[in-house]
């Protein structure tokens, strides 16, 4: 480790030389700190920027693409959705409760700084296996931290995913997604404009916490002493953020705001330089005017502090008193710390004396862009050589199914989501536990309407004390939002390009089975050290796969987050490009859920089944193997499938629908049975295995498949929809009332291939399945 000035702030020598060139002189200590953090990977995307240009970002509905605090898509002429996903991996590994809590706090601010009222949170989490006490500590701490922040804020956590794999043992992943609603005309941006306009800090006081979070914590690998970085983790206060949220939304109802930005990673320096750069202006700010939590803070500490629950606002000149009054009402501080200038310089004063002066664009936009070396990883060839035909067939399929359902990656997530408020704001139509979360878009939760605004609406003309109950206004709003985060990282590990395309397809499919239409994604690209050619190759391939799938499925990327350096002691995580999918549901009256509804309904399998066991949960859980290749993906077929499913649901034909994913066909059917309505908790299935391995048909993870149930009278109509799309489909069984889960295999006979052999493979009470499923996580974590 060198003790050169640049290494102390995380810069390379060549980067330092570039700074000197831009300034025409050596930077002083404060300026060096500013460049160190703004040119960090976390803030500058210097290793990913060129690759990310491959992603499609435009579409009819896109009102705001990448580059702002969150993306925005249009739902109707007067309703838009702002959303983004962001990682808090390293802080959560170092301090799980606060790391995860502040991850939620940060993504909430990214959304409400756009002028949107947050209406949902989702979390994509990954840990090592729970047989390790450290992993149980991380898992329980992260879940409690997410709950702590979201529950207190009153924003429902409606979905997400949890995966366990030992590749995350030294580096857990915590990706938080937030979705908010905003009127299209009222979107706010992180911009400073109009020389002379004041710049204000609002919200919490600034302390010394979180300094170097973005540069030294988020933009470097972990060594042995990860816990030494604990002081770089911020501490969150959701109560403060709740007040900040309400105050900001109230402020947005005025036209006093020019622009606003969250003071998240790299705090004051990143928010001020980015706002100035977007507006092509300069800023002059005096750090001594920032409300401080403690005495004796240095200028650079003010600039780099990642104290939570703060916003930087550019206000129309003369409107400061209005802003102050609103924040005072909510018991919050606000302070004018400077003003917009016209010289393009970010000038930092300390009690009137200039301590730093650099071009805003240099900090925000002129970090070097790297085109790292790229090389296909050697491990891939070894994996491809794995031949699953040598794996023994299970002797007892009952046992195999119970083991899969009771495994931590397939088992029930109730232990997690029962710790999250997933109902507040009265939007949750389909709660966690199904394919995608489904939310009602409700006018009463629209932005800007809050508790203390003057009452409005039909009753207000009436005097108080009027007897009787007025007729309630019509509240039937059928518009909804389906949301899902998804990534099968084992697929991406086996095949970065196709695995990532599958993550997009799968997230879309999860939304489609509710009846919704996918419209856009946000992404969280979690990878190892991009300066290693094999890691960068994987990253590049993943982005290409994502671009391909997003283009075909019509879901542009509106923003996201890249998290590199997810390594400990040189061991990288599985490449994990998490997809956050947003889909619009036009009519919640027709929405469907996975559980069987009526005995006698027919179960129809859409899509084709092959014996694809590569990368499957079955191979891993039952045989302890990870290898071969991920399943195939035909995006054209995927699109047909999604159209057919949506048409059938929208026509009201479908009583239940479920995507087939981890664990394959039989696990998907078991999930439908376990979630069934009373009196429909059984099924009788016939699985045709005409070629390939029988276990491959049962547990293989062939893509582009969906299970539907329909009333027998609707079978012909459903078939005609499938035929019109040219989509393979097959009636595979019936929903029964006897509470038994029965699967029979049909295979060509020994005597004649036309005389099928029938063999009962699985016969278990659905209650037994449910018991195994329910215990999957509590067996490690306690009830």
């Amino acid at each position: 480790m060198s003790d050169q000035v640049w290494t102390q702030v995380g810069l390379k020598e060549v980067e330092y030389r570039r700074v000197v060139e831009i300034l025409g002189r050596e930077p002083n200590h404060v300026e060096l700190q500013m460049f160190g953090v703004m040119w960090s990977e976390h803030c500058s995307y210097k290793h990913s920027r060129s690759t990310l240009k491959k992603l499609p970002t435009k579409g009819e509905r896109v009102l705001q693409g990448p580059g702002e605090n969150a993306g925005v898509i249009k739902v109707t002429d007067d309703l838009a959705v702002a959303f983004k996903i962001e990682s808090h991996n390293h802080p959560s590994f170092v301090e799980p409760f606060q790391g995860a809590a502040t991850g939620v706090g940060g993504i909430l601010r990214d959304v409400f700084t756009m002028g949107a009222r947050p209406i949902a949170l989702l979390d994509s989490l990954r840990f090592g296996h729970l047989d390790d006490a450290k992993q149980r500590h991380l898992f329980s701490g992260v879940v409690a931290g997410i709950g702590h922040y979201g529950n207190c804020m009153g924003i429902p956590t409606v979905g997400g995913e949890v995966y366990f794999d030992d590749s995350y043992k030294g580096n857990c992943l915590v990706n938080a997604m937030c979705v908010g609603i905003v009127e299209p005309g009222k979107i706010r941006k992180g911009i400073a404009k109009g020389p002379g306009n004041p710049i204000m800090v609002v919200g919490a006081r600034t302390g010394r916490d979180g300094i170097h979070g973005a540069s030294l914590l988020a933009s470097a690998e972990f060594g042995e002493q990860a816990e030494d970085k604990r002081p770089s983790v911020q501490v969150g206060d959701p109560f403060m953020e709740k007040l900040l949220l309400e105050a900001c939304l109230e402020l947005f109802e005025t036209d006093a705001v020019v622009g606003i930005q969250d003071m998240g990673a790299a705090g004051l320096i990143s928010s001020s330089s980015e706002m100035a750069a977007r507006g092509d202006v300069g800023l002059e700010i005096d750090v001594r005017k920032v409300p401080a939590r403690e005495e004796g803070m240095q200028a650079w500490e003010f600039l780099l502090s990642e104290s939570q629950e703060r916003m930087l606002v550019c206000v129309e000149k003369g409107r400061e008193p209005e802003v102050e009054a609103i924040f005072e009402k909510w018991g919050l501080l606000s302070a004018v710390i400077g003003q917009v200038t016209d010289d393009g310089m970010l000038r930092v004063l300390d009690n009137g004396a200039v301590v730093a002066e650099v071009p805003a664009h240099a900090l925000a936009d002129e970090a070097p862009v790297y085109y790292p070396e790229s090389k296909e990883p050697a491990y891939l060839a070894d994996l491809r050589n794995f031949d699953y035909s040598t794996v023994p067939m299970p002797e007892d399929f009952n046992e195999a199914l119970l083991k899969l359902l009771g495994s931590t990656n397939i088992g029930s997530r109730e232990w997690v989501y029962r710790q999250y408020d997933h109902m507040v704001l009265l939007g949750t139509v389909v709660a966690p536990g199904a394919d995608a979360a489904l939310l009602r878009l409700r006018s009463a939760a629209r932005p800007g309407i809050h508790g203390v605004s003057a009452p409005e609406g039909p009753f207000d003309s009436e005097e108080s004390g009027t007897e009787g109950v007025p007729t309630p206004p019509d509240t039937t709003r059928t518009l909804g939002l389906a949301l899902k985060t998804d990534c099968n990282a084992r697929y991406v590990y086996l095949n970065p390009r196709r695995g990532t395309a599958i993550a997009v397809a799968e997230a879309a499919r999860n939304c489609v089975v509710t009846g919704a239409t996918p419209v856009a994604i946000t992404n969280n690209l979690n990878f190892g050290n991009p300066e290693k050619p094999e890691i960068f190759w994987t990253f590049d391939q993943a982005v290409e796969g994502m671009a391909e799938a997003c283009t075909v499925l019509g879901t542009p990327v509106t923003g996201g987050n890249v998290s590199f350096y997810n390594e400990t002691a040189g061991e990288a995580i599985y490449p994990t490009p998490t997809i956050g999918m947003v889909a619009i549901h036009e009519n919640l009256e027709t929405a469907v859920t996975p559980g069987f509804k009526n005995a006698g309904d027919v179960i129809v399998l859409l899509g084709d089944t092959k014996d694809e066991l590569g990368g499957s949960e079955y191979l891993k859980v039952i045989h302890g193997e990870v290898g071969h290749d991920c399943p195939n993906l035909d995006l054209a077929l995927e699109l047909k499938l999604q159209r057919a499913v949506r048409t059938a649901i929208n026509e009201g034909l479908v009583t239940a629908a479920h995507d087939i994913s981890d664990g394959g066909l039989v696990v998907a059917l078991a999930e439908m049975a376990m979630a069934a309505a009373e009196g429909a908790r059984g099924c009788q299935l016939n699985i045709f295995a005409t070629e390939g391995r029988l276990d491959g048909h049962l547990f293989g993870e062939t893509q582009s498949r969906v299970l539907l149930t329909v009333n027998r009278d609707n079978v012909m109509r459903l078939r005609s929809i499938c035929i019109a799309e040219g989509l393979p489909h097959r009636l595979i069984g019936d929903v029964t009332a006897d509470g038994r889960f029965v699967v029979a295999g049909l295979a060509p006979g020994h005597e004649s291939e036309f005389i099928f052999r029938r063999q009962t493979l699985i016969d278990l009470p659905t209650d037994d399945l449910a018991q195994a499923h329910k215990e999957a996580i509590p067996q490690w974590m306690g009830a």
């Binding site: 207190c152 009153g154 109560f239 403060m240 507040v424 508790g451 009452p455 009027t466 109950v469 206004p473």
Partner: protein, 233 residues
């Protein structure tokens, strides 16, 4: 008839409660800011759930000192209907308007999910639209909902029919497993001796529309409206 829904810093269920009362039940409803001192225009006040003052110190412990709580005590003394939901129940206990306390859940985790409430007294302003022994599907959402009262207070509550709801199975069996938090005697909601102040941990406002999974929470608000309409109080 006019309902008020209180808003403290950190309250987060006020919009839901407002929606349920105004849009679903159809009664005039206003938000009441925590610094409000005049409650004379209201017939009923609902203290909505959330994390007033961040639940710092102790749930409800700071909110009880706010100006609106002073006027609320007078309002209650005059016979106005008061319903505390979740954090509202905690505040009412802290303020001494209801007996007992809400402890940390016995399993020490936050818990969100559906519960069934068995109606233990159907002859109150808050349960008049229900029948005795009926179960209502209403969700809970709390970390500190473990009701506790000393044996004497408990005996007193039982003797005077002040238990409104107990956690039960869907069939109405009061079993330990049916309780989400370890409450003494599965208590989910209680009422004061004079019958005009009630508190409950479950959230009826989240169970007023079939689309959200249940509309049986609406019975509680309808009971209040019926009571006020009949002028029986």
């Amino acid at each position: 008839m006019r309902f008020g829904v209180t808003v403290f810093p950190g309250t987060n269920c006020e919009m839901d409660t407002y929606h349920a009362l105004r849009e679903v039940i159809g009664v005039q409803t206003d938000y009441v800011w925590h610094q409000e001192r005049d409650l004379s225009r209201y017939d009923a006040i609902v203290i909505a759930g959330g994390f007033s003052y961040g639940d710092y110190l102790r749930t409800g412990a700071i909110a009880r000192f706010s100006p609106v709580m002073e006027s609320l005590a007078e309002f209650a003394a005059r016979g106005g209907l008061v319903l505390g939901i979740c954090n509202g129940f905690q505040i009412l206990c802290e303020a001494g308007l209801l007996p007992g306390v809400l402890l940390r859940n016995a399993h020490l985790q936050f818990r969100c999910g559906w519960t069934h409430l068995r109606v233990e007294n159907a002859a109150t302003a808050f349960t008049g639209a229900t029948t005795l022994g009926q179960t209502l599907k209403v969700p809970v959402n709390h970390g500190e909902g473990n009701y506790y009262a000393d044996p004497e207070t408990l005996a007193d509550l039982n003797r005077h029919n002040q238990i409104l709801f107990r956690y039960a199975t869907a069939d109405g069996d009061v079993t330990p497993a049916a309780s989400p938090n370890g409450s003494v005697e599965n208590i989910a909601g209680i009422i004061n001796r004079s019958g005009n102040v009630a508190g409950m941990m479950p959230h009826p406002e989240r169970a007023c529309e079939p689309l959200l999974g249940s509309d049986q929470g609406a019975y509680i608000f309808k009971s209040m409206v019926n009571c006020l309409t009949a002028g029986s109080r």
